[in-house]
Symmetry: C2
Subunit: 175 residues, 2 copies
């Protein structure tokens, strides 16, 4: 096992309507685009927000700070089969980095109102990058395969996890 070479320090905190991992947190922010939250940037980093208001979408990098376990294989929420951790979006990763593209609504002195959140309230934010479809999107003409995720999923874009099933999913011990 390699040593811990790099450290992250929070640049702010993400405030959302979801008080805990057992709450009805959307499985992905893009599937719940109307769910609003706020980013509170710590004073010493506010200067880095210059020009961000020009972007409609930003990419948030944060810590899955409620996760205590690391798994190399786990059952994704959308499936019943055990998958490799790098093929799923589970928080139980070797490095607990989460990423979500959110819509940026307003910027006011270190407070960013955002939409499309899927984090627990109080999640530590470690980076913001501006979203640019030329860098971060795949051209429509380029074929995309999404492996096991290609199986049909319910069509309700706002599907949320029920409290019990999410709790069960988060706490189940597999492999």
């Amino acid at each position: 096992m390699k040593s811990c070479n790099f450290s992250l320090r929070p640049i702010g905190v993400i405030r959302t309507p979801f008080n805990g991992v057992d709450d009805q947190v959307p499985i992905q922010g893009r599937l719940s685009p109307e769910t609003q939250g706020e980013i509170h940037i710590y004073p010493e980093f506010i200067d880095g927000l210059k020009d961000i208001e020009g972007f409609s979408h930003i990419i948030l990098f944060y810590i899955f700070h409620k996760t205590a376990v690391m798994k190399l294989r786990a059952r994704p929420y959308m499936d019943s089969v055990i998958r490799g951790i790098f093929s799923i979006r589970s928080p139980h990763r070797p490095n607990r980095i989460g990423m979500t593209i959110v819509q940026l609504l307003t910027v006011d002195d270190g407070v960013l109102k955002i939409s499309g959140v899927d984090m627990v309230d109080g999640t530590p934010l470690v980076d913001i990058k501006p979203y640019n479809p030329r860098f971060d999107g795949i051209d429509q003409n380029e074929p995309i395969r999404t492996g096991w995720m290609e199986k049909p999923v319910e069509k309700d874009g706002n599907r949320r996890i029920t409290i019990n099933s999410r709790k069960q999913w988060l706490h189940e011990q597999d492999t």
Copy 2:
């Protein structure tokens, strides 16, 4: 300043044709989709690769390990104006996390051949997530604004940074 709360440990290393930051590294992998590289996953994490071969694109999270400075404002490569660090893609960030979407070509026992690399050879990899346009793309019908990046850029999708200009850009001290 908050303390360093979270640490990252590399899960592997990214091999690319670019030996140093002064080399002709593409400014973004998606703008140089034919540039190939390899990911070498450390043995203790290979088990987490199960099912990844089903995905045509994966999202790499890595450390800008050659960066020694942190800036809150900097000049982006594509512009002449000093911008906030969270509005640009510069490596000189409070937390040195880089993200690139690459095409996955082959998977063979811990070695992933990939295309569309924009990292320096030897870059420490900390996470892989499967790319899913439903989670990671913006719907074509949703308006996107990209702020200062909207100014016209040369149309050669494979544009690379010349050695001298990149060196100058990387080493310039601003604000």
